[in-house]
């Protein structure tokens, strides 16, 4: 995700100015030579920065410059819009100027989050600057505090959360700030709106309540001071003469946030928060429009990088249709329901469970067309990437090559194959009797189900996958509707599988390989939220592409 999050301020002296921004960098992108000090995102004692005196000297020299430099990208800064780091605990490695923070992502070593006053990239700087000016001095928000979304393709899209904080030294006793979140993907930004707004709101109210406390304290102190003198009245006190007021602080910048909130590690915390927001925002699941406008396009290239809720249904339809055209209507098993009727509850259940759990299915039969139709029905049940098919083979192929295997009736399964990972279905039809009516024709099938997983696992406990599937099959829907229903059912489960995968790989640095070893209690916790039960775990793992063994 390509985004930058920053804090901007309408400075009394400089107008809209960027105070601080945090960006995520990936290790493969060009490393820039910022002299940051690394800060752990946990906010433990931060290692930081250079002296404040440097800053103030800079301020002095810049202050007298004419207005022309207001919009110049030079890092001219007054105290109120400078960001500063807490005093050093340890000496920095070298004495050059330190510009920001760097946070390493503990879960993904390739990512670092860098916080600095400005983004290093010139183009990005322009975009952030533009967003800052626009958010503070152009955009209006209902009630003046709150979120606004604006932007264009050139400068990116911006979510800006405006808020004001109390400051007893400021004009009107308040100062305007805004959090801005800039990214190029408008759709993603809009989708992230609820998340970002809620997080920004929490941050803003935190800052505001802190500032309020200090504001009240300062006001009370001021009143007390004035009680001793000749003026006694409540509220903010006007200066004794307008002249005095106008001269007072006229050219003096206001306090920085660190001083205003009296929290030395304000920017460290802000950076940690920004980093977290960047990270969390990049992780949410996203719905993407797929190229084809139809709901279930026939073929879409599946790339592992895109996350799609809608898995394309591959070419099954066409092969299915082909079979149909070739003729012999009678030798085909139309749909899952037909298969269910033929096999009966127990056998169907066993077959399906073996399949969705990742075992190899071997379909044998004297008529290859029946075998093919069974296979095409079955493969619609699982996501495409979980399904590799060899429809018509004469020799046994291992599970690494395919998980649905169509074999000729005479082929034997070698003895060295682990029988618990294989489930074999033998279908034969007696051609001599072929009665006219459908129901009788079903009865002409003979089948034989062999091997596969323990019956115990099948019957020991409720399994939501098979129960839901059977529920759908019993619905007595028209064919087309039934197919759609099954498709949706499959999408639901594959989305559960994806969430599961996200969750366990997210918690694990080594990714997929180690995730199978992840402790069971954690997995149980996850599946509880996904609304599935323990017995579905192997299914979910298989669908997520994890090895179950």
């Amino acid at each position: 995700m390509n985004a930058i999050v920053s804090l901007v301020h309408f400075c009394e002296v400089d107008g809209p100015s960027v105070i601080f921004c945090t960006q995520a960098f990936h290790a493969n992108s060009a490393e820039d030579n910022l002299d940051e000090v690394s800060v752990s995102s946990r906010g433990s004692s931060p290692v930081a920065d250079q002296t404040h005196s440097d800053n103030s000297r800079e301020t002095l020299s810049n202050r007298k410059e004419p207005f022309v430099n207001i919009n110049r990208p030079a890092p001219a800064s007054c105290a109120s819009c400078a960001f500063s780091l807490p005093p050093l605990d340890t000496k920095p490695i070298h004495n050059s100027e330190i510009k920001g923070f760097k946070t390493r992502d503990e879960e993904n070593p390739l990512v670092t989050y860098k916080g600095s006053r400005y983004p290093q990239d010139q183009q990005l700087y322009a975009a952030v600057r533009q967003a800052c000016v626009r958010s503070l001095s152009c955009e209006f928000c209902q009630g003046r505090e709150g979120p606004v979304l604006f932007g264009d393709d050139k400068n990116g899209y911006v979510l800006s959360y405006m808020f004001k904080i109390k400051d007893s030294q400021a004009r009107g006793f308040q100062r305007w700030y805004s959090f801005i979140f800039l990214m190029t993907d408008r759709v993603y930004l809009v989708e992230s709106w609820p998340f970002l707004v809620s997080k920004f709101r929490i941050l803003a109210t935190g800052i505001q309540s802190k500032a309020n406390q200090i504001f009240e304290k300062e006001n009370a102190a001021k009143e007390e001071r004035n009680d001793g003198t000749f003026l006694t009245r409540s509220g903010p006190l006007p200066p004794t003469s307008p002249d005095q007021f106008l001269r007072r602080r006229a050219n003096q910048p206001l306090r920085s946030l660190v001083d205003l909130l009296k929290s030395k590690d304000f920017f460290v915390q802000l950076h940690a928060n920004f980093s977290w927001i960047l990270k969390a925002c990049g992780r949410h699941l996203q719905e993407k429009p797929i190229n084809d406008q139809t709901m279930f396009p026939n073929s879409v290239v599946f790339s592992p990088k895109t996350i799609m809720l809608l898995d394309p249904i591959a070419t099954c339809q066409s092969s299915f249709g082909l079979n149909c055209l070739k003729g012999d209507y009678e030798t085909r098993i139309e749909d899952l329901k037909a298969l269910y009727n033929i096999l009966g509850l127990d056998a169907f259940r066993k077959l399906i469970l073996n399949f969705v759990k990742g075992n190899q299915l071997i379909i044998r039969g004297n008529d290859p067309r029946i075998v093919q139709s069974v296979i095409s029905n079955l493969k619609e049940l699982v996501p495409n990437e979980c399904c590799s098919i060899m429809e018509n083979e004469n020799n046994y192929q291992t599970i690494s090559k395919c998980n649905i295997l169509g074999l000729s009736a005479t082929t034997q399964i070698p003895d060295d194959v682990n029988k618990s990972t294989v489930c074999s279905l033998y279908i034969s039809q007696d051609y001599n009797k072929s009665p006219k009516d459908d129901i009788a024709r079903m009865n002409t099938f003979e089948f034989d189900l062999q091997y596969g997983i323990d019956d115990k696992w099948i019957y020991s406990a409720p399994n939501s996958f098979i129960n839901q599937l059977l529920g759908i099959l019993k619905l007595n829907l028209p064919n087309e509707l039934m197919n759609t229903r099954i498709m949706i059912f499959k999408e639901q489960w594959s989305s559960k599988a994806k969430q599961f995968l996200r969750f366990i790989t997210g918690n694990n640095n080594e990714g997929r390989n180690a995730s199978a070893n992840m402790d069971l209690t954690k997995q149980m916790e996850v599946i509880k939220y996904l609304d599935i039960n323990e017995n579905d775990l192997p299914i979910i793992k298989f669908w997520a592409g994890l090895k179950t063994t």
Partner: protein, 385 residues
């Protein structure tokens, strides 16, 4: 009583008219652009003049971060744009300066006279250069502001200095002919209203007609000085050709305040009020308000009948007459001349009719042009008094 309840006053109307729905950028009413360095007093001026904010409360205004656009609906509709001082609006990358400066109007540049004004002059120079480049018709008004704390001598020196420097600098780049006017202003006295009056008068195409009408009225009724006031803002939009004395202006302006205050309290009912009250120790006041209050958007005549008379102890009479719902005529005359009461009343009726004709003409031509989808051009036609 809050000043914001504008449409309840008999002489008062809400600054936001019935056409607020129009896009302020799209419509072509004249613009007053208030610019200047930060803390120079732009927002204070705007608040004091158009919102009746007491001057000492402006100390607590927060700094302006956005352009504040405000539509003023009055005898002449215009917009006031209050700019934040921190932002350079000529930066073409960020702002479309043609949209901002392209319209007919005036640019008011505010300089804080109590501060070191060298930086402000630099900015003024830049502003004039670039704004003139974009729009040759823009008039430039320089308010040398916050002069209340300065001594009279120092005031004059400051104005001379600023005027000298600015014109010299502009002459250096060949812009001698750009019209710049300088005003000494302060929100603590009437000078800001006076300055605003002059600025706005430049935006009124009918000004010569109005002045002519006032001259005729004055000479025929023995009036010493007459002002045509915009009641809302206490800006005078026209006066007769005799020189304006600051004290005269102040007393006339104060009279409007008195009328507004009285009508706020007593002017709400439809019944006729005759109040005789002693406001000052030696000023006998007689106020007649016949203002039916209520919705001014539909009934236009209600405020027109407002009339008031204040006799001053120096033998002068202050006389106020409502002209229409935005305007009031305030005139100062000797009590000897006030003997001919009926004549003055008659003359005033004629004057009122003439004013109505002038604005009716403008309104009709505006309507016609709106119908034809053409750009509004204000026709100027002399209407005899």
């Amino acid at each position: 009583m809050s000043h914001s309840e504008g449409d309840e006053y008999s002489l008062h109307t809400s600054p936001i008219g019935n056409d607020v729905s129009e896009d302020p950028v799209q419509d072509h009413r004249p613009r007053l652009l208030i610019m200047g360095l930060r803390r120079s007093g732009k927002s204070s001026i705007q608040k004091v003049v158009f919102h009746k904010m007491p001057a000492n409360e402006t100390l607590f205004l927060e700094s302006t971060s956005k352009i504040i656009k405000e539509n003023i609906t009055s005898f002449i509709d215009f917009q006031v744009w209050d700019f934040p001082g921190q932002i350079d609006y000529f930066d073409t990358a960020t702002y479309d300066s043609d949209v901002i400066f392209g319209e007919y109007g005036a640019l008011i540049f505010v300089i804080d006279a109590q501060d070191d004004y060298i930086e402000a002059l630099n900015r003024l120079h830049q502003t004039v250069l670039r704004a003139h480049e974009r729009n040759k018709n823009l008039t430039f008004e320089v308010f040398i502001h916050k002069v209340d704390a300065l001594s009279d001598e120092y005031k004059i020196d400051t104005q001379r200095d600023i005027q000298q420097r600015t014109t010299d600098e502009l002459a250096d780049v060949g812009l001698e002919n750009v019209p710049l006017s300088f005003y000494l202003t302060s929100i603590y006295d009437h000078s800001i209203f006076e300055a605003f009056s002059k600025v706005i008068q430049k935006l009124i195409p009918q000004l010569p007609t109005l002045e002519n009408l006032l001259n005729i009225l004055c000479s025929n009724s023995g009036i010493e000085k007459a002002f045509l006031f915009d009641v809302n803002s206490k800006i005078y939009i026209a006066t007769d050709s005799s020189p304006v004395d600051m004290q005269t202006y102040e007393i006339c302006s104060d009279m409007i305040d008195v009328i507004i205050d009285i009508s706020e309290i007593y002017g709400r009912t439809t019944s006729f009020h005759h109040i005789s009250d002693e406001i000052y120790e030696d000023n006998q006041t007689q106020v007649e308000t016949n203002g039916k209050t209520g919705n001014y958007g539909t009934t236009t005549d209600t405020a027109n009948d407002a009339a008031s008379l204040i006799k001053l102890n120096n033998g002068m009479v202050l006389c106020l007459r409502g002209v229409n719902r935005f305007l009031a005529l305030v005139c100062l005359l000797r009590s000897d001349n006030f003997e001919k009461h009926g004549l003055i009343d008659y003359n005033f009726q004629c004057f009122k009719q003439a004013i109505a004709d002038v604005f009716e003409l403008k309104r009709r031509s505006a309507e016609r042009f709106r119908h034809e989808g053409m750009r509004l051009s204000v026709s100027e036609e002399n209407v005899g008094g």
